[in-house]
């Protein structure tokens, strides 16, 4: 079926958007197969984003965990500070090609908003970003960056005032202004063709990392680890390794303050399939189909849904998904800063914590590749304000 990953995905949106999605699907397919578009995308990925990003041997983290060798794919070195720009750039080029001059986006941590604001500045497009008031508070630096880049920020106060509500409001804007507007969704979520299109634009992460890893290590890693909110950096990383059956793929979700309703954002670990924001996928919902509120120290992972392709990868067992708590992620944030001189964003700090667990289990012959999806400057306040419940040893379960 069109736009499906097994049973997942689809286009559960108001009729008003259906012809726009069809137009987008057609325009995307045409652009993706056009050598001219690919050439321009590649040139901009290099000159504007700074690709390829390096593969980095995390020697002191490896030594600290005393097990498998850990490498980091340095998406934190992308311009604007995260992998989000890979997608925003590609979609902005597409919007320009489609003649859409107005761009809307949602943002949680602010990284996708900043990336979108930057490409809109770069290409002279009008930019409006929807952001929950709770996220505006905890990611205040990114709000200022977006404004400086010329974007208009629209505060969303409904519900828990985080990423879910920001996406809902962006979709409502799109329903209203669909003719002249392109919606740059920031993750592999939403109705078809978004999950496919965002994956295609993010797969550059894994494609580069796989080549770099083979050159550096002469072999493939045993495990590839990435954090999963909507799941775009994880899909971007996993796609290159899907056919490498011996490479384990692990997605790390936000475990928040622990298991239990409303306390985390781990939809693949604790949810069941349902429809949110246009696609059928794992979802944190109550028995009556109402979407649950979520909790995570990391605004970028604080989302009750997940990209539909992850749901398929989970069901067929090609990828496994685990949860890491707020306290564990904050501890990993500090550890990586101190040992490697790299301040990771709180989102990939979840992945780093789990990489520590895996390193111990795999032993010194093991190889772990982690997607360091963004940098952590934006999270300084959240980390400083975080009340640590107890001593956390990174890599161990509390």
């Amino acid at each position: 079926m069109k736009g499906r990953f097994g049973a997942y995905g689809g286009q559960y949106v108001p009729e008003t958007l259906m012809s726009a999605l069809e137009e987008l699907d057609g325009a995307w397919r045409e652009a993706w197969h056009d050598p001219g578009f690919q050439l321009e995308l590649k040139a901009q990925l290099h000159a504007f984003v700074g690709r390829p990003t390096p593969l980095y041997a995390a020697e002191r983290l490896t030594e600290h965990f005393g097990g498998a060798v850990i490498h980091l794919k340095r998406e934190d070195l992308c311009h604007t500070g995260a992998h989000k720009l890979n997608n925003a750039l590609g979609q902005a080029l597409l919007a320009r090609r489609m003649g859409k001059r107005r761009i809307i986006a949602e943002t949680g941590a602010g990284q996708h908003g900043v990336a979108t604001a930057a490409v809109c500045a770069r290409f002279g497009l009008d930019c409006t970003v929807y952001m929950g008031s709770e996220d505006m508070r905890r990611q205040e630096l990114n709000v200022r960056r977006m404004r400086l880049l010329g974007a208009e920020i629209r505060e969303v106060t409904a519900g828990s005032a985080t990423l879910k509500e920001a996406i809902s409001e962006a979709i409502r804007d799109w329903v209203t202004n669909v003719g002249e507007t392109h919606y740059i969704i920031g993750s592999v979520v939403g109705p078809h063709p978004y999950p496919e299109m965002v994956r295609d634009l993010q797969r550059v992460i894994g494609d580069e990392a796989r080549d770099q890893y083979l050159i550096a290590e002469g072999r493939l890693p045993d495990v590839v680890v990435a954090c999963v909110g909507g799941g775009s950096n994880a899909i971007g990383m996993f796609t290159a390794f899907i056919e490498d059956r011996k490479v384990r793929l692990v997605g790390v979700e936000a475990g928040g303050s622990g298991p239990g309703r409303g306390r985390n954002a781990a939809s693949l670990v604790g949810g069941r399939p349902g429809v949110l924001h246009g696609s059928f996928s794992y979802l944190l919902q109550d028995p009556d189909g109402q979407v649950e509120t979520t909790e995570s120290v990391s605004a970028g992972l604080d989302y009750p849904g997940v990209g539909p392709e992850h749901s398929l990868l989970r069901d067929i067992g090609r990828a496994e998904y685990v949860a890491v708590t707020d306290a564990e992620a904050v501890a990993a944030f500090k550890l990586c800063s101190r040992l490697e001189g790299i301040m990771p964003a709180l989102e990939p700090a979840h992945a780093l914590h789990h990489a520590g667990r895996l390193a111990g289990r795999l032993g010194p012959d093991g190889r772990v590749l982690v997607c360091l999806s963004g940098r952590g400057d934006k999270d300084m306040e959240s980390v400083d304000g975080f009340q640590e419940p107890a001593e956390i040893e990174v890599g161990r379960r509390v």
Binding site: P14, E15, R172
Partner: protein
């Protein structure tokens, strides 16, 4: 398909005597369960041809502020799918066809087969699911239809003629014509391009057409008379309630605009 279809109760009611009909909306559980039942029944007594009963959903993508706010209140009040079916049943007891309006996730969570059976048992006539476009309709609409419920699909100003035809073919009871490009909510004026859209929809289906989104004033109804079979009014009534006014009086004013 259309040549062999049976005429439903809803369809008959919307066609009767050729007048413009009114379909007011209540959100089950807003301002509370008992009040929503009373409102639905009062709308029926006032002369509504059918009543739309909303089942609240946490993330209503097609709705503007009025319906969003009503849904939030209803959920805070503990409204559930089962509770909303009870509200619908009590309104239907008044002898008016009731149409459920909800989103696809509560339907899936409740189990579409079970929801269809329970809705039919409660006396519901049809179901509208605005985030279930024609492409994704099955298996949900199959269950609804086999329980004898009408499946009402929406068409929008952005739907090309080719889509209008396929949407109309899947619909029964009536076709819901969204009058504007946007979300629900009272508007001061109807869309200037509405007449052309209504002509396009009329050419695509023999079913009655109900216009909805943005309709809030008697003069809007005067403009729709003779062009559609019914008008759906939701946000204007919810706003009236929110402001502490009498929505039944507004229904009476709107009904005067239908004649």
């Amino acid at each position: 398909m259309s040549s062999t279809r049976a005429t439903s109760r809803l369809e008959e009611r919307l066609r009767a005597n050729g007048d413009l009909k009114l379909i007011p909306y209540v959100m089950a559980g807003y301002p509370d369960a008992a009040a929503s039942i009373e409102l639905g029944r009062a709308y029926a007594r006032a002369g509504a041809a059918a009543v739309e009963v909303g089942i609240p959903f946490s993330d209503p993508l097609a709705d503007g502020p009025a319906v969003q706010r009503a849904g939030e209140v209803a959920l805070r009040n503990g409204m559930t799918v089962a509770g909303a079916l009870e509200v619908a049943g009590r309104v239907a007891d008044q002898g008016v066809p009731v149409v459920l309006m909800t989103y696809v996730n509560p339907v899936l969570a409740h189990d579409p087969r079970r929801l269809a059976a329970e809705a039919a048992e409660a006396g519901v006539a049809g179901v509208i699911i605005p985030d279930l476009p024609a492409e994704e309709a099955e298996p949900v609409t199959g269950w609804l239809r086999s329980a004898g419920l009408d499946t009402i699909f929406l068409v929008a100003p952005t739907s090309p003629d080719s889509r209008l035809m396929s949407i109309a073919e899947r619909s029964s009871g009536f076709v819901y014509c969204v009058t504007l490009t946007g979300v629900t909510g009272a508007r001061a004026e109807l869309d200037p391009g509405l007449d052309r859209l209504l002509e396009r929809v009329r050419r695509s289906t023999p079913l009655p057409i109900a216009a909805g989104f943005g309709i809030s004033r008697p003069e809007h109804l005067a403009r729709l008379r003779g062009k559609v079979d019914a008008a759906i009014v939701a946000s204007a009534l919810l706003n009236r309630l929110h402001e502490g006014g009498d929505p039944v009086a507004l229904v009476e004013e709107l009904l005067a605009g239908c004649r």
